[in-house]
């Protein structure tokens, strides 16, 4: 395949029973999807995982951190933002 070409993954319902179960247990079944990996999305994901939920954290950027990662320090303590 060439760069940019879209590879489609099989839809779970296309699979036979056995594969479906495997897919659900290990694969793409989750409890919560969190859209956005800034400080808020990260905290929500951490809390949910601590409670015992499986979380998909989705971000548009190649790394999580969001705007807070771009900040130098934070008020009113001037702690390092990272």
């Amino acid at each position: 395949m060439k760069p940019g070409e879209v590879k489609k993954l099989d839809h779970p319902t296309d699979l036979n029973g056995e594969q479906l179960i495997k897919n659900l247990a290990g694969g793409n079944l989750g409890d919560v999807m969190v859209v956005g990996g800034g400080v808020s999305g990260i905290q929500a994901s951490l809390d949910l995982a601590a409670v015992g939920f499986k979380v998909y954290l989705v971000d548009r950027a190649p790394a999580i951190g969001g705007h807070m990662a771009q900040l130098d320090k934070t008020f009113p303590t001037n702690d390092c933002s990272m």
Partner: protein, 942 residues
Amino acid sequence: MEGETGNFKVKLRKKPRYVREDKCTGCNTCTEYCPVQYPDEFNQDISNNKAIHIYYSQAIPLITYIDENCLYLKEEKCRICEAVCQNEAIDFNQTEEIMEISVGAVILAPGYEEFDPKIRADFGAGRYDNVITSMDYERLTDSTGPYEGQILRPSDLKPPQKVAWIQCVGSRQVNPPGANSYCSSVCCTYTQKQVILTKEHDPETECTVFHNDIRSFGKDFERFFQRAEELPDVRFIRSYVSVTGKDPETENVIIKYTTPEEGVKEEEFDLVILSVGLNPPPDVEGLAKKFGLELNDHGFCKTNPVNPMETSRPGFYVSGAFQGPLEIPETVVTASGAGSQCGELLSYRKGDLSVERVYPPEKDVSLEEPRIGVFVCHCGANIGRVVNVPSTVDYALTLPNVVYAQEQLFSCATNSAEEITEMIKEKDLNRVIVAACSPRTLEMLFRDTLREAGLNQYYYEMANIREHCSWVHPRQKDEANQKAKDIIRMAVARTHHLEPLMEIKLPVDKKALVVGGGVAGMTCALSIAEQGHQVYLVERETELGGTARQVYETLEGLNVQAFLSDLIKKVYRHPLIHVYTGAEITGTAGYIGNFTTKIQSTRGNTEVKHGATVIATGADVYTPTEYLYGEDDRVMTHLELEEKIATEDEMIAGAETIVMIQCVGCRNEDRNYCSRICCNESVKNALQLKEKNPERDVYILFRDMRTYGYNEDYYREAAGKGVVFIRYEPEQEPQLEPAEEEGRPVIKVTLPDYVLQKNIELDADVIALAAAVIPSAGTREVENLFKVGLNPDGFFKEAHVKLRPLEFSAEGVYLCGIAHYPKMISETISQAYGAAGRVLALLSNDIITASGAICEVDKNKCVTCGACIDACAYGAIEFEETDEAGLKAAVNPVLCKGDGLCNAVCPTGAIQLKHFTDEELLSQIDAVVPEEEVAETKETAV
């Protein structure tokens, strides 16, 4: 995106990174060789980056990606990165993947986008080089920024000596279109932060902030503003401004502004920073359409006014700035709150998809001769470019009992960590040292590699050759290399004395205690109970409701009393909530997961056991001693006015002139904070007074109008409806005097008008004082009972102002509502859900683990002086009766946090901190300074 609550199907498009995540170690070699340079978006396009690079220096994952500027992706040329990567991590065959996932609920946290001042060419943005945005400046001051923390202005890359900030860029503006009517809430304080940082960089820099109201409405913000304002050569000037041009030679920017003393002025600045506001996230409409959500008038997510995390679609929750401009702690609060609501929804399937970690059984190696393994990390180039890593590996092998040593590119990479586990087994190691970075972030990970190999995790030691060496001595390579060896030698010396320690496993009592039955306490209790946990809700008064009982309507028009009675009903009806009213807590003991509390209430005396405690004890309203309050019944507080408006009191109905005075009892020496809610409360009352009778005169005498966020719209509405806002300074407070005006008894209010530059007089029928919100009367009691801290203003102090706003440093104790700081009802509700989320993160565990690195008393050496008991901040040490020696100090291992303060004060050395014993620490000191050297130094000294 399709489906419904509990079962959404989501299609995700995963973009190719063209770099294999399992193979890339983030060594950055590819980035060095990549020939394509283009502006780095992360650094606000100020500096360049390469087409293959790591997103930012501390990114997670810390691996490279290739973006659309790549020559190969554009023109099928180059592929140098592929050739230089030793790990074969580059993979141009990667394609976009469509993934389909099923989830029960969705949390939306897409954040915000900074306002782009170039759109309207505001204040010379895009026209003058030396006009930049506050986010640009944020990158400039950052040590990982474009000039490694040097502040250089764009036109000539020289440090600016005279810097100006212009506030409210893109905020609080309705004309011309393109900007936002709301207040972005964060800009005043981030500007003050930037001023302080600028002065720290170079104390000579002159800083000027042009603003219209300083909105220091958050916890500790007022003091922060004072800290910025009191710095030398810092000016805060209240004035609208325009950027009128630049000096063609120096490229300095000219700002025109007005002061009451000097009139219109023009002044030149080296650098102008636009304090830009917060816009909805990029492509917000597409996002809303995709997920079937409604947006509000400002383009942010439309949320339920009594539940700011609830969207228009069931199963979808908002976290963070997607609900509107928020500062960091509030986004963290809403994150935990949204999490708690997902928990309520999906409680039935909790834990079904989680997998328990299983470790191999631990080997007993305590009697074996130490067999030490040393792993030295390059940390990409972070250590490797300064320290000669191979030479440190050779050196380590010469040290006593070191049987194995190797280098690693990134010890923290998953495959490297697995390699450590494998080598422990293969070389039969029983002590492990990783020479890399600070233990603060990664010690947990490396301890885990030992557990995976069946070793006690306390046999692990970290040698910090990055923060303590390569980062601080980048230009003295030889000395740094020697220092790295010294640090490794110290680690080896200490490792000889390490002992295996057991961690303590504690059962968790699954019930919660909520102290305070106001909106915060009740909301929190309900959310916890909805997730299957019993809650004891304790209220001092005989009725539930708290401060909200005095509030009738919110600015958004919510009927508070109806909401409150509904909430109270829900609480009483919930089978898992046990309500105690007229209650007093007479004692509490225990620790995280296991508390016991005694309650005296209308139901008699009870003792309850609980795993978590929530403090939601609310606040009080200041009783004014100024402005004739209590002497003249025409003078009342803002809450009393609200009640009289709601109950259609005759005096209010007939009043022709109403004067409101802001900041009564706070923002002064006694209470150096802003009560946050009062500007909004007065605007609300003013709007209602005008609605009932548009002909009457309403005046609001203020110092700074702090109608932050969307509330700015109501401020504008009030001004539009003829409410008159007059600013006063604390040095010249309004003077009140009962008088008679044309036969009408009035209270005469006199104050200077800074715009008209003369005194004005108002004849008021009613005076409403915006009285401060003050810590509740029971605060000290709660502080002592639960061993929690207070801030300088007497409000409860959270564990971390930004990242842990919902809990105390005392573990297992959480915080919400106005006991934390004054706030709106909607903000209280956010925090209540947030605290519930944090409580659930604890109560969902069957057991919790306490560290093994704690203090222990040698009873034979203890002289019962009690010095350790005074030193311990956690109340972990008490005297205990022993059989043979009488009263001796004893450490409660669960409460001990291992800070070692008691060690330092013990006169006989009876207390030792395990894992940091005198023997372990002294061995390190002996290793760094050999005895011969000490002897020599002594001789020289003689």
